[in-house]
Symmetry: C2
Subunit: 672 residues, 2 copies
């Protein structure tokens, strides 16, 4: 159990490391050589073509202007300068609404923190159970400010309950307002966009195969019959994997050609050997060689293209159907097309860059089976992931290493290296697992068969949230792995569960405060530094980059990582809502996280990220309903401390009844 001083020390360390990151960022970002790492958005949007530099040769790589070093925090006011409308135009609605989640956090937890600190902390502090018990137990100062400090049977619990009511109401109200605002923003955004194909287009899947007729023909025929007034045209989906590979190869060849053509010594023609990797074979003129290659490839591309268009087998059972009005497309997307509800499934077409092509042709039955299988797999992953990891851990120890690689024995016998490996090896499997987890979840979502990248990311985010909820939140509160928890819950009476979880919640406040500082504060500061990307960019720049096209590729900043950031955000909302009544001292830490992360992501979105797609804030309902779920969880867990008191003969029935009363309006809110 950490004391207030421990927390203070931890806070200091994390604040210092966060500042170190920020300082490093401030120094690195003003170096012209790093300009493409920290401001790629401006290159992509065409606002900048080359780094700002100060004259001489050294100035090309290093910033020599001392003044800029003094104002190293000036990115913060800069990040705040842009208005929301400008952000929408600059980076899209997804990014703008993503930032609103942070401001929503501030709006919800700001007033709650003030009220909780002013009302609940004095009530808890003057409770005095723990100071009375402290001779026997080791109790932290934090616990003295939490609900554990209130005497059993105390009427003070009614203050906690009424506060929970108040906070729940406030959160619901803010959610309601925010949903309204986001919905309006989305509608305005959709209305203000210039005309684009996807606004008039519907994606039709499960087009039935009629013998003697191509998918394209039957689609044409179907929509001409059923939507005669609005149907415009359609585009069948082709299986062009081979064609795509050829295109990729052509791009590579073109890149080499560009490289040799832009060579700095025009007097000496570059040459290369024809064989593998240019290591042997006849020496030829490079430019002529690549020109010849490209010409040949173009021919193959043309024949392949014609083959695909002619071959009925390469047409998938999906099509993009366009209408002459948005109304017509909306009608087709929202209505059932056929008496068999598993055929002619229509949906709004995603943006072209948002489509995940591989999943377009999955049949309805296959989709249902995939969904079922993946949900079972996710359940297994969430609850049983520790089993294979523990197995690998049991293998990956020092003895195992020595058995596999006996020549390392002299090295591993060294005491320093031995202790390092002993500390490092067992955790390795877990660390690797946690690192590849988002990739695994994304892969699972792809198997589920969603047709848009945006949906895939939302589904992966949902899976990651379940994983965090069970393994980070519950896993930290209850001891043992998720599998052991599941087992104990199955063999326990349901009424026991809130007690089991509830009683240990106040005790874990210090852990979560440390978690927020490490994962939230320092984690966000390292996000702005982007050390990994920085190193990779410079490495690529040294080794791989030959042409401008290569440099643009190396510069690619990626999108906001929704599958990881959204669940993390939702976890912070959960922590804040759960601890608002139980240990309100946690709230300021969350507020700092929200404010700091808001600044950082605002900067990143303005200067860095380049969204791969635009879903017009389609993730909002998920954020909304997860916060509602957090409210429900907090209500459920608050029964815990009350039941604990019941063990101390505290009559918690009124408490529980009061809780049911609170839960009802929330369910309502959600169903609205």
């Amino acid at each position: 159990m950490a004391t207030l001083e421990d927390i203070g020390v931890s806070a200091l360390i994390n604040i210092l490391s966060a500042f170190a990151f920020l300082l490093a960022f401030a120094i690195l970002r003003i170096q012209p050589i790093n300009d493409r790492v920290y401001f790629p958005k401006w290159y992509i949007s065409g606002g900048r073509t080359s780094p700002r530099r100060s004259g001489n040769f050294v100035g090309k790589f290093l910033n020599l202007n001392c003044w800029t070093y003094l104002t190293f925090l000036n990115w913060m006011p800069q990040a705040m300068k842009m208005s929301e409308t400008e952000i929408i135009n600059h980076a899209g609605l997804d990014s703008a609404v993503f930032l609103r989640i942070y401001t929503l956090g501030l709006k919800i937890f700001g007033p709650i923190a003030i009220v909780a600190l002013l009302v609940i902390i004095p009530v808890n502090a003057s409770g005095g159970t723990l100071s009375f018990l402290s001779k026997e137990l080791v109790v932290s100062n934090i616990d003295k400010l939490s609900i554990s400090n209130v005497r059993p049977k105390s009427s003070r619990f009614f203050i906690h309950i009424s506060m929970e009511y108040l906070f729940t109401f406030w959160t619901c109200y803010m959610l309601y307002k925010e949903y309204d605002r986001v919905a309006t923003m989305r509608l305005n955004f959709l209305a203000s966009q210039c005309r684009r194909a996807e606004q008039f287009t519907v994606l039709v899947r499960n087009v039935p195969h009629v013998s003697g007729r191509s998918v394209s023909d039957s689609a044409d025929n179907f929509f001409k019959t059923n939507h005669p007034d609005h149907y415009l045209c359609h585009q069948a989906v082709y299986n062009a994997n081979k064609f795509a590979k050829l295109v990729q190869k052509r791009e590579m060849l073109q890149n080499w050609l560009d490289y040799y053509q832009s060579e700095r010594h025009p007097d000496k023609r570059p040459t290369k050997k024809k064989g593998f990797l240019g290591l042997w074979g006849e020496r030829v003129d490079s430019i002529d060689f690549y020109k010849q290659q490209i010409k040949e490839l173009d021919k193959r591309l043309t024949t392949e293209r014609q083959r695909i268009l002619k071959d009925p087998k390469s047409i998938m059972s999906a099509a993009f159907v366009s209408f002459n009005s948005r109304w017509g497309a909306a009608v087709c997307a929202q209505t059932q097309q056929s008496k068999n509800p598993t055929l002619w499934l229509t949906n709004w077409a995603p943006e072209p860059r948002d489509i995940y092509w591989k999943n377009l042709a999955i049949s309805f039955v296959s989709l249902s089976i995939r969904k079922l299988l993946i949900s079972l797999l996710v359940f297994a992953l969430v609850f049983f992931y520790m089993i294979p990891i523990a197995f690998v851990q049991s293998l990956a120890n020092l003895e195992g290493l020595e058995r596999v690689a006996p020549f390392l024995r002299p090295l591993t016998e060294l005491k320093f290296i031995k202790s390092f490996l002993q500390g490092f090896l067992p955790g390795l499997a877990l660390k690797i697992f946690l690192y590849i987890l988002p990739i695994v979840l994304m892969f699972m979502s792809k198997i589920e068969g969603h047709v848009a990248l945006s949906v895939l990311e939302r589904r992966a985010a949902a899976k990651y949230y379940y994983f965090m909820l069970v393994n980070v939140f519950l896993g930290s509160i209850v001891t043992g792995t998720a599998f052991q928890q599941l087992d104990s819950f199955l063999h326990q009476s349901p009424t026991q569960i809130p007690r089991t979880i509830g009683v240990s919640i106040p005790m874990k406040a210090t852990f979560f405060i440390t978690y927020i500082m490490v994962d939230g504060w320092a984690g966000i500061a390292s996000e702005i530094l982007r050390l990994k990307r920085l190193v990779i960019f410079h490495l690529k720049n040294m080794i791989l980059v030959k042409t401008e096209r290569d440099r643009d590729k190396a510069m690619n900043p990626g999108s906001v990582d929704f599958p990881e950031t959204l669940p993390r955000l939702q976890l912070y909302f959960l922590l804040g809502i759960v601890y608002a009544v139980i240990t309100p001292i946690l709230l300021p830490f969350i507020l700092v996280f929200f404010a700091f992360a808001y600044l950082v992501y605002r900067h990143q979105i303005i200067n860095l990220y380049n969204q791969r797609y635009e879903s017009a804030a389609a993730f909002w309902p998920h954020v909304h309903s997860r916060i509602i779920a957090s409210l429900l969880i907090s209500q459920f867990l608050l029964i815990g401390p009350a039941q604990h008191k019941k063990g101390c003969k505290f009559d918690s029935f009124s408490c529980c009844v009061a809780h049911i009363d609170v839960i009802v309006p929330q369910v309502l809110q959600e169903s609205l």
Copy 2:
């Protein structure tokens, strides 16, 4: 524990009582005086205007043709004569599909019964555990044919599991075929109907109030803007309760007028007194009096009508919007109309006679709250209904009666009457409750705010099914009231639940066999007799009936009582599916029920019932999904006997895993 002989006796009693009912029916139905009770459908459809009679005066009331008495069971072949298409034309699709549920029962359980009796009974009978134990325990013969007779750890359980697989697959296949058939029938029925308004009409609810504009105007404006090509006209809904009362009054007056005008003595004009109930006041000529009254009422009706049409307050926020094509109506019914998803809610309009007018104007928020409240209330009713009844029972005993009515004491002191009352009074509250339960459930569904009678009946049926599932099925298997069960489940580990329920299932087979004979066999026979309706009709005929219109009213046979018959049917499916593997001897009893009930309801639908509305078999998905739910329940409960054996060191893990494998395809089927 009943022996095979007990069951035989019980069967004999029930068969005899069923035959008695049938005989009574056969005799009563051929009396001309009862013709309007047993064949009202032919009067309503115009196929008959007066009872078949044999000449003389006595023949007007009694059937004197001896021959017809000898062929008293000939209603059965008569009922089978009509083809399904004729039934659809005669009584509608609802009735035809309702009959298909019974044939579905025969199709599912016929083959299952044969296989189960041939395979499982020998396996069970030769198990021999119980004959070994029978010296110590009182074991019935029925139990010797059930799964309890199989030795623990026996590999014979794999026969039961594979049979459960087989039966599940067979049931799913039959359900799939039947759903397909019913869907086709529904589509054909809808397509073959003549043009009717509701096919082109959409019910719009939650029309927003715009100040300075009537609901009618804004609806007109809205649909002219958003559906310009297909919008035809609309009909606002008026609050005309007062008008309806006046119309009712006018009908009564008209009835009296008709009565006096058709009086058999045209020479003597009838007279009546003007005052209350015609007991005092000025004596006037009746015909003139009523003519005068009707004339006055007509004037009031006209003014009231104009008032309603003018008064904007009497327009409800709902409207029926008609389109010039079915396509236009379908589009409007299936799409979202406004950016606010709680306004302009569109649905297919129900038939005019299907509409439940009172619920048309309920707002969206109110609807959500109502649904939540009612679902809580249903939960309370299902689990806690015994509490108030026990309370009433504690009051409604002999002492209580004597305290309230001391003058009855000499009577209640008589031994015969005392013992009768002591046996009768305590159960009275429960009997009254069970009698009014369907009414209460229908009332709850009305509060939920559904707009069509068909939906109301389906929702009431669902509630009744939950009640039967918990209180009849689970309540019979596990001892104690539903409330006590709920309490024990809450304080028990979830893994314990299938064991608790599962082990007592085989023991209760005899109870359910008796239940099927009493409720199913004798109950259906009493359904065909319609004793209550017969008595009421003759009483009304003697006392109230003055004119032809009164006689038609008294004759009204009502519709098939879906809210009661559907849940009862679903309970029989549940019993059959659960006991198919555990105690297959139960299956023939269910088969007899299905066959007999099929005959009876076929007769009733052809000759008797006059459906109030036509929902085109909209109840089918509910029947389908409840049978799927029964399959899941049977899988879950089969873990029970296996777990019980585990207590006897039977390794049930493979059994449980095998079960999970079975459940998966079912969930799949349902999700399709």
